[in-house]
């Protein structure tokens, strides 16, 4: 994180006007070809919408933008709990997107755009989306004074799962909304004002996240052989799309294209007494500590590992995840009574000649 926003570098306007579109055209063509060639759409998808989504992913490499954005989210566990903020956003082509709370507050964050979804399979992030949802362009609108195409992702039953307002010129996402199955909004964000300029030269995306933190398929296979869970997918159509090392923990990121779940595994045993603001509840004979968020956060002990989950996924997905990685049961706990009982059992087994 940084405490200040870097100013946008501005090149000569004439060069920008000429070089930007000249470089953008081949990249947009490549994106469109990729979208059409990738096996990431099914008969229910609008190919135009799929192409727009691929362009949206490539847009941060082509343009500068900065603006003011509002964000709001509702807890997946408690619909009455919500959060919202107004943030300043600055993005450099191929680089990080810097986000900070609006105003002079020192709080600042960096969206490093490190996610490349290297484990997502064919079609990358767009493939994740179109495998689980039908996508279609449903209309045009305006966001912060700029015309935008509206792409909708629908569930099998036809209910909208998400809508995306993409800038008509650059396909940059200007507004996002995600809906629960009952139609209520789960997250919403939109630019109140935004300035977009083409990059003066082609900028290859840089990764602030070093590659030695990345975990590939062979790394995951090795971890699984060593006793780590590292599930390939989670119930509800959530597929593993990224995995990396974070300190002494392993982060596994899952998505169905709309909602996301991050599972952190680390060696040790949860020290629940030092958890602040978490509520304990019994799940499958064990104890899970949670905060409703958003985003919802869970942590629990399973065997000799601590599992922590940060998620904006529906509650059903989180319940399914707990069934996949159940907490340590009370019977298996290392409490004194359990130890005494186990010890007595061992002594009896020694004395039992038929054992």
């Amino acid at each position: 994180m940084t405490g200040s926003l870097a100013p946008i570098r501005r090149g000569p306007h004439i060069l920008t006007a000429l070089a930007g579109p000249a470089l953008a055209v081949p990249l947009l063509l490549c994106s469109a070809v990729t979208a059409l060639a990738a096996p990431s759409s099914d008969p229910g998808d609008d190919l135009g919408a799929v192409g727009l989504l691929h362009r949206a992913l490539a847009a941060p490499e082509l343009v500068w933008f900065r603006g003011t954005q509002y964000v709001a989210a509702w807890s997946p566990l408690d619909a009455e709990r919500s959060t919202s903020a107004v943030v300043d956003v600055i993005h450099e082509p191929g680089g990080p997107t810097r986000i900070r709370a609006h105003g002079a507050q020192p709080l600042a964050m960096v969206d490093e755009r490190s996610g490349t979804a290297w484990l997502a399979g064919a079609g990358g992030p767009v493939g994740l989306l179109v495998r689980g949802y039908d996508v279609e362009i449903i209309g045009v609108s305006a966001v912060a004074g700029r015309p935008a195409n509206i792409v909708e992702a629908r569930r099998d039953d036809g209910t909208p799962a998400a809508r995306l307002w993409l800038d008509s010129e650059w396909a940059l996402p200007l507004r996002r909304e995600i809906y629960a199955e009952d139609g209520t909004t789960r997250t919403a964000s939109a630019f109140i004002e935004v300035h977009i300029e083409p990059a003066p030269a082609a900028v290859e995306a840089t990764q602030s996240d070093p590659e030695d933190r990345w975990l590939r398929h062979d790394d995951l296979a090795e971890l699984r052989a060593g006793g780590w869970s590292c599930p390939r997918r989670l119930p509800g159509g959530f597929q593993l799309y990224e995995a990396r090392r974070v300190g002494d923990a392993f982060q596994l990121s899952y998505s169905d294209g709309v909602a996301t779940v991050s599972v952190f595994e680390q060696r040790g045993r949860l020290d629940a007494d030092r958890l602040a603001g978490f509520v304990a509840r019994e799940v499958n004979g064990g104890v899970v500590y949670s905060t409703p968020g958003p985003p919802a956060q869970f942590t629990w002990s399973t065997d000799d590992r601590v599992v922590t989950v940060v998620a904006d996924a529906p509650a059903e997905t989180l319940d399914a995840l707990l069934a996949e990685l159940p907490p340590t049961k009370h019977d298996d706990d290392r409490s004194l009574l359990a130890r005494i009982g186990n010890g007595a059992g061992r002594v009896v087994s020694w004395l039992n000649p038929f054992d």
């Binding site: 490093e112 990121s253 680390q266 998620a311």
Partner: protein, 196 residues
Amino acid sequence: MRHLGVIVTALVDDQLGHDDRDRALAHVTRCEQCRMAVELERQAKAALRRLPAARPPASLVASLRALAEPGDPLPPPRRPLPGADAGQGTTVRDRAWITRRPPAGRPGPVPGQRRPEPGVRTRRDRVRVVAVGALSAGALTMLLATLGAPATSGSPPASVVPPIRQFTVEHAKATGGLPFAEPAAVVVPAVAGDRR
């Protein structure tokens, strides 16, 4: 002829039976040697009777009396002594209230010194029994807890408090490449605080 020998003392102390005494006296009338031995024995006995009475030390008397003082009951035996009279049904348990002597090196009460009340000694013994029992139970608990500890191949797992805020920021970063995910919607409210 056989002489009286050791029977001389018994003859002088008048401990022989009627027939033995007649035969011994008949022999003394015929044997001068035995007659002299009997006479010497009688003179020695008379000399001892004429000695003045000796007074033993008071401490010796007190120690000797303490040997006869009543003590604590003996521990009950598990079974009757061999050879106990079945008709009387007497066992060591029945003799539990027989007085016992104090152990060696432990002087008994001297005249004028008050002995501890029997009840005090009983309470002390109860405390000892309870203390020994508690220690034994604790040791057994520790032993069972040690035996019942889960088998681990190495050191026990470390105590962990997950860095929730860092994990939330990392989660937001991981969503940056997804078209519908909005990292700011994840990380800003989580860091800035929430409200209903």
